[in-house]
Symmetry: C2
Subunit: 245 residues, 2 copies
């Protein structure tokens, strides 16, 4: 690879000189329903991990950015767009796919209950799982998943690590960013917001303290409307000031 002149050239410029790893994006589609953190997974029907469950994903094409690839996968697999989505981390162990060398750039997307159910209905190959990540996960340990009936299932590839890191990231961003609101409809009660926080953190929170902390942030606008059809005093509905006009 004839280096000429300087001892250390900046780079061996031409990528075609090497065999290239492939690049995929994988998506953790998460929601909170009934106080539980949930995720949409796709069943593998061939080896490796035949019968296991995987995050939906796909190759990054030569003419699209990483973010565009993630959006495309979201459209193709869940028939959905306009969802809050952020890049999570890139996973590049050599043997993470036993067939080929594949680097994956993981994203997580936050779906409110309605969109989550839309996705579940629109894509017949997606299934819903609860996510279990014990509290002090610290250095992003792996997540476990189980069916709503409680049956534990195996995650394919390194997707348990990916999902574990997604939950860890959510936990970290919860107080200083509006991720909590992305999991709720446009109008929601403070109790719903608290349930979202409790599901993500896997702890129970003090009601008055939570309430005041949220209101003090000046990110919530009271609508003057109230929930209906409840047998107790109806809670006021709030809007998040910022995203999702």
């Amino acid at each position: 690879m004839g280096a000429k002149g300087k001892v250390e050239t900046y780079e061996d410029d031409d990528p075609r000189a090497y065999e290239q790893p492939s690049v995929t994006v994988d998506l953790a589609l998460v929601s909170v329903r009934g106080g539980r953190l949930q995720v949409l997974l796709i069943r593998r029907d061939r080896p490796p991990y035949d019968g296991g469950w995987a995050l939906p994903g796909g190759f990054v094409r030569i003419d699209e950015s990483l973010d565009q690839a993630a959006q495309r996968v979201l459209r193709d697999k869940a028939r959905m767009s306009g969802v809050f989505m952020e890049q999570l981390y890139s996973f590049g162990a050599v043997d993470r796919d036993p067939r080929w060398r594949v680097i994956t750039v993981a994203y997580y997307a936050l779906l409110d209950e309605q969109r989550f159910e839309q996705a579940l209905a629109a894509a017949d190959d997606l299934a819903l799982f609860e996510v279990i990540v014990p509290w002090p996960g610290e250095e992003g340990g792996p997540a476990k998943v189980r069916t709503p009936e409680g049956k534990g299932e195996e995650l394919a590839f390194d997707h348990a690590e990916v999902l574990g890191m997604a939950v860890k990231r959510l936990r970290g961003k919860l107080d200083y960013s509006p991720v909590g609101f992305e999991l709720l409809p446009k109008e929601f009660t403070l109790r719903q917001l608290q349930e979202v926080h409790e599901a993500i953190l896997n702890v129970s929170l003090n009601k008055p303290a939570f309430r005041r902390k949220m209101l003090d942030k000046r990110l919530l606008q009271p609508t003057g409307k109230f929930e209906t059809g409840v047998t107790y005093r109806p809670a006021e509905l709030y809007r998040f000031i910022g995203r999702k006009g």
Copy 2:
């Protein structure tokens, strides 16, 4: 690409069906010297960005993980190993390199003053720059760099964004993780630690408050030794309990 059977197959399995993007790792080698945040950059001697300054980087090979690739680049470019390094973010805009489609996985590495100077001395193509990122960078705006003499320089590719995000990440991790210690020698004074924090955050901090906050974390061990050669009362030297025995 003949999909058979199910409507949505899990993935078009074979990566060789597509033209593949290339993957590189780029490294932000940062340190704090003289109360200033600094970075090591490499001069480009050919288009694109001829004469501009870039983060050292290199292609990810087929038989090495992302972390291994980052370690290799650190060895090759800075002749160094055993340095604290973490993955930062992956950048994948289609036109971020005008020649080829290249996705880069960015890492940042934290060097103490001594290692920083070793790297600068060992690699004749690296140069030192000060990093300027105004405080409320919020959504990780681009960084600017200038020479120690104050001359502003251009960063190649999207490396201003990468460096900006590295600083933002450092700022975020400063309170709840030991990143500050990685920029200091094994034994250091509390004033030095404060200077590191001030340089990263670009704010000035209250001395007694900082002191107590650090000591209360139980991460610092007093050595009983004191700095020498100063014209004022010598400060005690502390060690970080944890990393770097």
